[in-house]
């Protein structure tokens, strides 16, 4: 039994290094001038920390700051809208699946779960063709519709697991006291399900934030391109110094990183209630 703390200590150091070294390295590079960042051997700490790269990335006028600012607005609109629609629709459906009996419930529920098993890219080409038939390529609506259809199954599954675990007695008491079923949903179930709803919202938002291939195909210019696509385009250009690219990376990572640091408890609970049964 003496070996154990040692094993754990090595494990802890490994987890810390594994998660943080790559991010530290990008942050370190982003705070150096391009000349410093290309020195051999590399500087393990920025010799003269500077925000120059972040200013080039975001301030003033020019191709790069325009693209970054516009795509930031886009990603917030797309992720926000997709999250709201997904959470509202999956909450409604999860409640019906968890608490009501109706014809077709089993088939529909398994159809929803089955779509989780096939990879999202199965539907990429047909979705592109369907959206282009309706003139929805390169629109917020098109992207949000696709995101919602992709995220609904997991969201419904997480919320279904969560609502099924709530005590039935409170809802029955509400019914006995004369509340309508809608009132039971809005006044009893929703407040109780808040932690599950928060988990679902955070996970959906993070998934939406990480999307790349779908918006690469579905948005053709900066009017709808999210940050991920704009940064990949930046990387594809020549003559963009690596220190600037690192700053772009840190900039795109900031929002999800803050969410994880502040709300990780909800993420862990949501992921586990959704997948382990």
């Amino acid at each position: 039994m003496k070996r154990k703390p040692w094993g754990r200590r090595i494990g802890i150091i490994f987890i810390l290094a594994w998660s943080l070294v790559p991010l530290y390295w990008a942050l370190n590079t982003s705070l150096q001038t391009d000349a410093q960042a290309s020195s051999k051997p590399a500087h393990y700490l920025p010799p003269t920390p500077t925000l120059h790269n972040y200013r080039t990335l975001l301030q003033g006028v020019g191709d790069i700051p325009d693209a970054m600012r516009r795509s930031t607005v886009n990603i917030f609109i797309e992720c926000g809208a997709a999250t709201i629609v997904t959470v509202v629709l999956s909450t409604m459906a999860a409640y019906a699946f968890a608490r009501m009996k109706f014809r077709g419930r089993g088939i529909l529920f398994y159809a929803v779960l089955a779509t989780m098993a096939f990879p999202a890219y199965t539907t990429l080409i047909p979705l592109y063709k369907i959206l282009s038939n309706f003139g929805l390529v390169n629109t917020y609506t098109g992207i949000v519709l696709v995101y919602v259809s992709g995220f609904l199954p997991l969201a419904t599954w997480i919320l279904h697991s969560y609502m099924s675990s709530l005590p039935l007695a409170i809802e029955e008491a509400g019914r006995v006291d004369g509340a309508s079923r809608i009132q039971v949903l809005t006044h009893i179930v929703l407040p109780l399900a808040v932690p599950g709803i928060i988990s679902t919202a955070i996970i959906t938002f993070l998934f939406a934030w990480a999307q790349f291939l779908f918006p690469l195909v579905l948005s053709s210019d900066l009017s709808t391109q999210p940050l991920t696509v704009a940064i990949a385009a930046l990387q594809g250009r020549h003559l963009v110094p690596f220190s600037l690219l690192s700053a772009a990376g840190i900039y795109a990572v900031a929002v999800p990183a803050v969410i994880v640091v502040m709300l990780n408890r909800y993420i862990v609970n949501g992921l586990l209630s959704g997948s382990v049964k």
Binding site: K4, G7, R8, G11, F14, I15, W18, S19, L20, L23, T29, S38, K40, P41, A42, M92, A93, M100, K101, F102, R105, T115, A117, F118, P119, Y121, T122, T123, L124, I125, P126, L127, K129, I130, L145, V146, V148, P153, R181, I182, L206, F212, L213, T228, I231, A232, F242, L245, S246, A248, G249, A252, V253, P256, V260, V268, L271, L272, S275, V276
Partner: protein
């Protein structure tokens, strides 16, 4: 008992259970619309934007659908034949097989190791879990950029560190030259992204193991290694199975990391990248449909096999 038979409406005095049952039986006659109202938006989304497109993919893979070369017509297995004779596609299938083996293997091993580290409570454990899941939450594209700072042949951390440690004399090129090395380097980035979820899934299974099993093992003079092999490993199989399935799905469909780190170069192009190039650069949608159908089928088959091989129902 037939539903809605007229005599059932007669009051059954003294048998409240019977009348309750009759009341419950009668309810389905009036179609309850509320559940349908609640699920219909979800149903519309799933049918119109998931099931119908999936049907398009299946049907379309047997049609010639070329945007630059209309009209569309039925072509049997032609798309699949052309895929097979396309060297780039065959190479990408080989590459993807390596991505899957490396990615599933590494993420499972690392995930188990991390989960075992976190198995028992200690101070700072929840902070460590937050740090653990950080890479899971970040976009794959950005992770590609972050990791190119490590693999880079001129300014990368790895070259610099290995030189400082006198393990190499001059800077090495990790990406784009040697196929296995390139794929390994790219897949490390994806492993970085998917391992946190594997670790969490295994950890959840670990926490279901009753601690008296370890106490009993300890009394019997079990070393911690044999406790791990004989108690932990067999009992976390369900968690490991789910972790491996998520890794299989992720690695079979890898796109962001090779796209950012290696571009279209054949040394690292994955099947999903080929699907993208065929459909949206060559505008040959028929062949794209066929290739996505193949990836989907392979994903389903391998996921099913993993569940069959690894999953065991565990009773405590």
């Amino acid at each position: 008992m037939t539903v809605g038979a007229p005599h059932e409406n007669a009051p059954e005095v003294g048998d409240s259970r019977g009348s309750l049952r009759a009341a419950r039986k009668r309810r389905p006659k009036r179609v309850d619309l509320l559940p349908y109202a609640l699920v219909s938006p979800l149903a519309l989304f799933i049918i119109l934007l998931a099931l119908v497109p999936a049907g398009f993919t299946i049907v379309g893979s047997f049609y010639r659908v070329q945007a630059l070369n209309p009209p569309n017509r039925f072509s049997g297995l032609d798309n699949f034949r052309r895929l097979w004779s396309d060297t780039a596609v065959r190479e990408s299938i080989g590459n993807t097989a390596i991505y899957v083996v490396v990615g599933v293997g590494l993420s499972t091993l690392l995930g188990i190791a991390m989960a075992v580290t976190l198995q028992h409570r200690f101070r700072g454990r929840s902070v460590l879990i937050a740090i653990l899941i950080l890479p899971w939450a970040l976009p794959g594209v950005v992770e590609g950029i972050v990791w190119s700072g490590i693999w880079d042949s001129n300014t990368g951390l790895l070259n610099s560190a290995l030189t400082s440690l006198h393990m190499i004399n001059h800077y090495q090129v990790f990406l784009g030259q040697h196929r296995l090395l390139t794929i390994f380097a790219i897949e490390m980035v994806q492993v970085w992204q998917i391992t946190p979820l594997s670790a969490l899934l295994v950890l959840a299974a670990l926490q279901n193991i009753p601690s008296d099993l370890y106490e009993a093992g300890n009394l019997d003079g079990c070393s911690s290694w044999s406790a791990f092999r004989r108690i932990t490993l067999p009992l976390v199989r369900p968690g490991v199975a789910i972790a491996m399935v998520q890794a299989v799905i992720a690695t079979l469909n890898v796109f962001d990391q090779p796209y950012v780190l290696n571009g279209a170069a054949p040394t690292g192009a994955s099947v999903t990248m080929q699907t993208y190039f065929i459909s949206f650069q060559n505008l040959d949608f028929g062949e794209g449909y066929a290739l996505s159908l193949l990836i989907t089928l392979v994903t389903l088959v391998i996921s099913f096999m993993v569940v069959k091989l690894v999953y065991r129902q565990v009773e405590f």
